[in-house]
């Protein structure tokens, strides 16, 4: 076990796995939308850490996973931004709009 953890890649990959588990618990158990967004981002960065850890060879991380992770971070941000805006709008006026269109 210690041998394995001494390998930098495996250590961070397993930390990523633990983060995913932690975030998963938060995502299903917490109700507040902001906390679920935090859980979403914790799982996301856990996945990226696992990606980087498993792509770590000797001197550094494989450039393809690195590029994919940067892409993934931006995509996660886009989702978070929309979710945050939707949460605020929902809190501000619930479901009724000045020109409700539901069902029409």
């Amino acid at each position: 076990m210690m041998e394995l953890l001494a390998e930098r890649g495996s250590l961070f990959a397993l930390t990523g796995a633990a983060l995913i588990a932690l975030g998963f618990y938060g995502f299903i158990m917490r109700r507040a939308l902001i906390r679920r967004l935090i859980a979403f981002n914790v799982i996301g960065s856990g996945i990226f850490l696992l990606f980087g850890g498993t792509g770590y060879f000797g001197g550094g991380v494989d450039p393809v996973p690195r590029a994919l992770i940067i892409t993934g971070i931006v995509v996660a941000l886009a989702l978070t931004a929309f979710a945050a805006a939707l949460a605020v709008r929902l809190a501000r006026s619930g479901d009724d709009d000045e020109n409700p269109e539901a069902g029409r």
């Binding site: 690195r66 940067i70 941000l77 006026s93």
Partner: protein, 309 residues
Amino acid sequence: MSLAFDLALCALILGAAGLAVAGRNLFGSVVFYIVYGVLIALAWVSLGAADVALAEAAIGAGVTGVLLIGAWQGMKDAGGLEAEITKSLPVRVLAGLGAAALGALIGFAVLSLPGHDGLTGPVAENQPALDLGNPVTAVLLSFRAYDTLLETLVLTAALAAVWSLTPARFWGGIPGPKHTTRPDGVMASFGRLLPPLGVLVAVYLVWAGADQPGGAFQAGTVLAAVWILIVLAGLRDEPRLSSLILRLIVIAGPLVFLGAGLAGALAGLALGYPEGHARTLILIIEYALTLSIAATLALLIAGPARRAP
């Protein structure tokens, strides 16, 4: 860095994540999330991936953190912050066991990986053809340019999605509250001093990105931060969202990128660059993207219009 440092860092990361996910106070959770994001960036430094560390710190911790604080404030003002219900112990134990099982399964999958050579070799082999020193930029703007193209449009789509939440009477108006600060206050001086520095850093990041860690996304985030600072300092107000110039800035980067891809398709190879001109074209795309990403991020943070035009 040593094993002891790595172990301590991983423990801190897990601790911060735990506090962010399970904490009692919602605002405290947001703060711990930002701390967590910074620690994650340190992990990337330890793994020798400076560009990911930059992206994680700037976007993962920074912009996401600002967004979460904004959402917290917005929901609090609306009186819509939900109270957390503490679930019963058996439910928590069950969920905990489920989460632990998931973690164990993933850990098991990681440990049973057979190991492969990765793509470092093919990247290094083909990188000289592009005349770029940074392998990550080569992947993002050439080998897997299609991913990056779609990703920039995900950001643009997210902006359209956020704008679609604008109450009808505010359409085309100005997002966020107006910020005023004392002209001789700390905030105002910050607002005057930091922007030139921020712009300098951003220009360096995108210029260096061709050969060293950096690039359009990191530079765009810094520029967006500069703009937010200017607004917070009360030096300038947010723009009207009906402004054509603003909209042109938002689409400029994706448009140049798409145009290059389609021009390639017309010449016979979609997303291909003519031989010998790859570096120049990639740099043009990067500069245009930086500008658009900066505007898009700043507008995503500003949110839908809240004041009439």
